[in-house]
């Protein structure tokens, strides 16, 4: 491992599906992809952690409800407390919410159907491991694929999330405009992703790892991975 190459850990839970894709994306963008196993208590010295998409434990009971009890989650919590960058994608986002590392919750899509589609998302803040290098207002094309991605939170929590500018991404139109027709799952305030107040933990429903290789879709995920790698490197 060259000193300049950040190690990006990707956790595999039983039922994780996009773990290989996240590892591939991290490598493609110039990082070292490091597979992590849910039952281990060892983060293998990684500089950043990704909780990947999928259906951990089948998403039975509630999405992410069972995964958050995995042994490795204690290590990830500690890693996050030390300021380490933690990113949850789709199911990973749901796990972070269940684990209380992020506010709010994700419920069945408004239309009650799984949706796989390329959508536009607007960057809302540069205070997150995924958006550090980015300018708020920037629009990225990234696919979503989920059945339970509707972000929700009790009114006072939602007010706090907005008040403290914890929203990192919103579903939007091609020009960045917000409108219900672009709100692919009916999320509160079109929220597609949020961060913690410290700014080192972030989760999003869209799949940047599926938007880094032009041969298989869009490239809207490239700047996010670039940001994550830089963010991790700065803390190595």
């Amino acid at each position: 491992m060259s000193a300049g190459t950040p190690r990006v850990g990707v956790v595999t839970f039983p039922g994780s599906l996009d773990d290989r894709d996240a590892l591939r994306a991290a490598a493609l963008m110039g990082g070292d992809g490091v597979p992590l196993w849910h039952a281990d208590r060892d983060l293998r010295g990684v500089d950043a952690v990704i909780l990947p998409g999928g259906f951990s434990y089948g998403d039975y009971l509630r999405t992410g409800a069972l995964a958050r009890f995995a042994p490795i989650m204690d290590e990830i919590r500690a890693f996050a407390d030390r300021g380490g960058p933690v990113v949850g994608i789709c199911n990973g986002f749901q796990i972070l919410c269940e684990a209380g590392l992020l506010p709010g919750a994700l419920i069945r899509n408004r239309q009650l159907r799984f949706v796989c589609r390329f959508v536009d998302v607007r960057v809302e803040t540069s205070l997150s491991p995924l958006t550090e290098g980015l300018v708020p207002g920037e629009v990225l094309r990234i696919p979503v694929k989920h059945g339970e991605g509707q972000f929700t939170a009790p009114p006072h929590d939602l007010a706090r999330i907005e008040g403290e500018a914890l929203v990192t991404f919103r579903y939007c139109g091609p020009g960045g405009e917000l409108d219900d027709e672009y709100n692919v799952n009916g999320s509160a305030d079109s929220i597609a992703g949020i961060r913690n107040p410290q700014g080192n933990v972030t989760g999003l429903m869209p799949h940047p790892e599926h938007a880094v290789d032009p041969d298989v879709g869009s490239t809207g995920g490239q700047p996010l991975f670039a940001s994550l790698l830089a963010y991790a490197l700065a803390r190595v």
């Binding site: 434990y57 039975y60 009971l61 069972l66 009890f69």
Partner: protein, 100 residues
């Protein structure tokens, strides 16, 4: 419809429980049960997960309300092929909190 025309009657609250027929595999229950020991609970078993529906029906008599909810549970809330349902009727305007 007949139901629709049931004038301004009483409001009856209902709870319907829909669960997989016994003998059928319950993947959710199985997955929960499987993960309990790791959380330190080794003494729980027979976990089954079902659906729970609350609703309010406007009808002239409780009997009318019950028979309508029964039809709804059979035709809409459950799939008789794999699921069975149970109705928990409650007296007019009784607050749910009062029913176990």
């Amino acid at each position: 419809s007949a139901h629709g025309s049931a004038g301004p009657g009483m409001k009856y609250r209902f709870r319907v429980v829909v669960s997989l027929k016994p003998g059928l595999l319950d993947p959710q229950g199985k997955a929960i049960e499987g993960s309990l020991p790791a959380m330190g609970w080794t003494n729980a078993s027979n976990v089954r997960v079902g659906k729970y529906v609350e609703l309010v029906v406007d009808a002239e008599t409780e009997a009318a309300a019950v028979s309508q909810v029964d039809e709804m549970a059979r035709r809409l809330l459950s799939n008789p092929v794999i699921e069975s349902y149970r109705i928990v009727a409650s007296a007019p305007d009784l607050r749910f909190e009062d029913v176990p």
